[in-house]
Symmetry: C3
Subunit: 410 residues, 3 copies
């Protein structure tokens, strides 16, 4: 490996890092846009604190949990110390041909907070700030890196006879967030007024332009999320991943458009936006393994599943204000299974491995989320008082309003 | 060519791709910001669907039309099949020294949708959604790649004795969009209340911060649009293009500021914003051929032309809510001609070739746009009913409002 | 030096340039978000014109002042002509191993306007447009490059026995802006209604989502601001800078959160946002010299200092609507001194050199700002009339409103 190639690889990985970073603004914008004006500060506060917390905890413990090296305990758990200790040759291709130690850390750190950010949307508009921060910290610092190690740190999912495959994290990142979102939304219960005797009431987002900004920034960042997961600047693989990712996102828009039009007879922009995201989540597990047509199918189905996911979760009265569960959990499972159905790895034993991965990760995340949320629910409480929810979390938890100069309707 | 240089080139082209992608958010923000709150969802919907559609159709047919290779028919039309078929050595410098096949495709695909996005702004606030989507799809999938082939695919404009020159698309991209915008706005007629017996009434944009976000994102993306059009990471040429592009954009701001202050005696931010864009459009045809001073002149004149363009189109009652025709058509023609007047290629025969290019592209785009828009106008209709226009397209076409929590004045 | 390595270095520096460019949108969004709706156009106008002006003046005179080469006069002042003249070998590694002449210029040009943009926030909501533009132009074209030359152009701060150290500009950029902000805000006086007999009245920002967008974009751009200041793509140094920068920004959020909670008993998002920025400003002087733990301390303290800075400047009735003085001046001084306290350069003589740098730059900027602002104050006036301030600058200076479709409270 020449110094030149090492330097190029590292430049690309740093660019990818920056792109994943800005996804946190994408999530913040999307979630704020799709909820009500009275809870905007609260959502933005959470989505600002989470990446900051994620970077710090990942430096302190997450990175050591996720890449424990020799420090294994049977492929399920490992820890290589606390804090970041520079290995010899950390800034050369002896560490890795694609990046330095610091690039490795910071690229992975940007991923880490994503899991909690996904949860944030689903529990929005009624969760207490303190318990949410506690859950997020534990989820990002402990749950996510342990699960991540199972595959990316060389753990048991990576050493199956037919190894579980998850290129950039349909399961390892997105469904981890999705499971936390599901458990959180379930234990919190729906927002006041969402499900009444007269049926389900739509609670529209207060700022659709922000939601659009959010989705475009997420797509923008996804070039780094998936493109960086090549772990080098290899021209063929990265450029292929760009194409499969873009095709799937685009097809997701049309999948959601078609099925939402059939179901609701209107051109619903929030469905299209979530359809794009579901297409992106769907391709993430196999972005390097799919052809162009396969990517279009995966994205289109992912977009369609969002529509049915939203309808389904409303039917069982799990109130997810932004559709995060449908996008990241349903889309993540779909994308993970798709690796066994389409593309270069397709086959029965691969599909079984994918199911094992989905199941193992799901079991762990459900248990972890349930224990943390439920124990807080039974002690400090996780839901704001009714009056506070009606008046809005901004004024009650933050003594501020997001738009104090404007006349609002609520 | 070393593998290292090929890899660097390809990394830069991928970064440029990402930058051009985010221009679609720039267009969405700008157009939404400069129109009324009641039509915001509609504009955002179009600007979200168009890039998704553009990527898919470009994969299916556009790329094959634009770069037909041997499959020519006299330099005016060619088609090399349907869909993306990987040539041998697609991921090596044998395909191209600057990029892989997939990078080539996805970079070009990001450009493709731009043409329709430009139209979107000019026809805003009164066009029916369905006909607009049909027009956009045909324009992006067929009209744009055919015209693009004339120059970039080696067609007849590229084989003139003095070849037509259009570095990154003042004509091939921006004026293509501009001609469609002109025909669309003309056939639709002005918005209700725009031109009355008492004269022209300004209809201000509802969210100027969004317009500012849009313009900055467009400038940001232009580093990829122009910088990527070098088609390699060549240090001298790309960095020169960065400088000429930035100087022209900056000078465009002052051109528009000066003339709008003279004309209207106020510091009009929308003119300054459009002036920046016109400066950027203007330099696009010759960004690699101009010196610093020439770039300043081209940008400054481009910015000034926007002011006169806006006044002119209002005088002839072509209602362009966001100034897209002045920016992209007037600015695009100016920039294309400027290649014959300033810089390394300046000269009479070059100027003639530039005129031929402007004329040929204009003729084709006018004809194409007119046929598509006019045939829909005479059948399904292209304009929403008067009541729907007055109430807003959001509630009528999308059953949603962009800002449901806020009290609006209309 | 191989052509490959030169090309990689240059690609990274161009990417860094683009990232610093988008910081101007970050500043625009942050400042507009943290002020009132009635002054939004005015702020956006300034923040759009300033980078345009900065690029043009930097091409005309700033770059020649900042990097005068041989054309010195005792290390305090130098000028190598006017305009950009291409040196021989400008596009090869003979010019510089990290970048071409044009990359050098445009990267530095993007930095230049930052100083004035920082001032913009502190003087917002009451300064006359014309005088502000005059001040900004002089500050960017003359004051900033002279001060910058003292260190980065090889001037007297760079030739001290123990050279002053300022990696990416805690002093050279941020405190330069901060001093101008302090003098401007002081000479203008506070906004009407800010400090009354009954005490200080908080004037909340009108659009917190925009402020969040601004801070994330600034952090995003800081990867280029600090990462590009390595002046090459050196894998070890750039990736280290990414980590120290991110850790400091994240720790700044928590520093501000802790102390603002202690002081105000609420979760104040604007403090957290400014805390992130102060952490970023703080690490900027020594981003390549600090370990992970040291970066966390520097950021945390920086974040805390913002809270006390805001309280302090309110106590002495210097009205800074966005907290720019606390972030950029206090944070900048702290970061500069921190280089003498922490990291690879720590030591008494370094700390003394850092103090000399802070003092010299402060003295010059205070004098420059005072002379310019004061002479305008005594002639044309720098503050808008009272009625105009109450009604808002948008309608009076720009004949426009930022959100004409919405009902506002003031």
């Amino acid at each position: 490996m020449t110094q030149e190639l090492f330097t190029i690889n590292n430049v690309w990985m740093m660019v990818a890092t920056i792109l994943v970073f800005i996804m946190h603004l994408g999530f913040a914008s999307l979630e704020a846009g799709l909820t009500r004006a009275k809870n905007t500060i609260n959502i933005l506060f959470k989505n600002t604190i989470i990446p900051a917390m994620g970077i710090l905890t990942y430096a302190f413990v997450g990175f050591d949990l996720m890449y424990p090296g020799e420090a294994f305990a049977g492929g399920f758990f490992g820890l290589s110390g606390l804090g970041l200790s520079l290995p010899e040759g950390w800034d050369t291709s002896n560490y890795n041909e694609g990046y330095t130690f610091f690039t490795d850390f910071i690229f992975q750190a940007m991923f880490a907070a994503t899991a909690a950010t996904i949860v944030s949307g689903a529990v929005a508009e009624r969760i207490k700030l303190g318990p949410f921060i506690i859950f997020s910290t534990l989820y990002v610092a402990i749950c996510y890196p342990i699960v991540g190690m199972w595959k990316w740190g060389g753990g048991f999912l990576d050493t199956l006879d037919t190894p579980f495959y998850d290129f950039a994290g349909s399961t390892i990142v997105h469904s981890v967030g999705g499971w936390g979102a599901l458990i959180g939304a379930y234990l919190l219960g729906p927002r006041i007024g969402k499900y009444t005797e007269k049926g389900m009431k739509a609670i529209p987002g207060h700022n659709i332009p922000m939601a659009v900004i959010g989705v475009f920034l997420l797509w923008f960042g996804w070039f780094g999320f998936n493109g960086g997961s090549v772990l080098s600047a290899d021209p063929g693989t990265v450029s292929k991943v760009f194409v499969t990712t873009s095709i799937a996102g685009a097809a997701g828009a049309f999948g959601a458009l078609l099925f939402s039009y059939i179901k609701f007879k209107s051109y619903d922009i929030t469905m299209v936006l979530n359809g794009i995201l579901a297409g992106l989540v769907g391709i993430t597990a196999g972005a390097d393994m799919m052809g162009v047509g396969e990517s279009a199918i995966i994205g289109f189905v992912g977009g369609g599943l969002v529509v049915f996911g939203v309808i389904f979760f409303d039917k069982i009265k799990v109130d997810d204000p932004v559709g995060a569960i449908s996008v990241h959990l349903v889309g993540g499972i779909w994308g993970t299974l798709a690796v066994g159905i389409f593309g270069e790895l397709a086959g029965f034993s691969q599909l079984m491995s994918q199911l094992i991965g989905v199941g193992a990760v799901g079991t762990f995340c459900i248990a972890f989320s349930f224990i943390v949320f439920y124990s807080m629910k039974k002690t400090v409480g996780i839901r704001v008082p009714e009056a506070e929810e009606v008046e809005g979390l901004d004024i009650n938890e933050h003594s501020m309003r997001a738009y104090p100069d404007f006349a609002t309707k609520d």
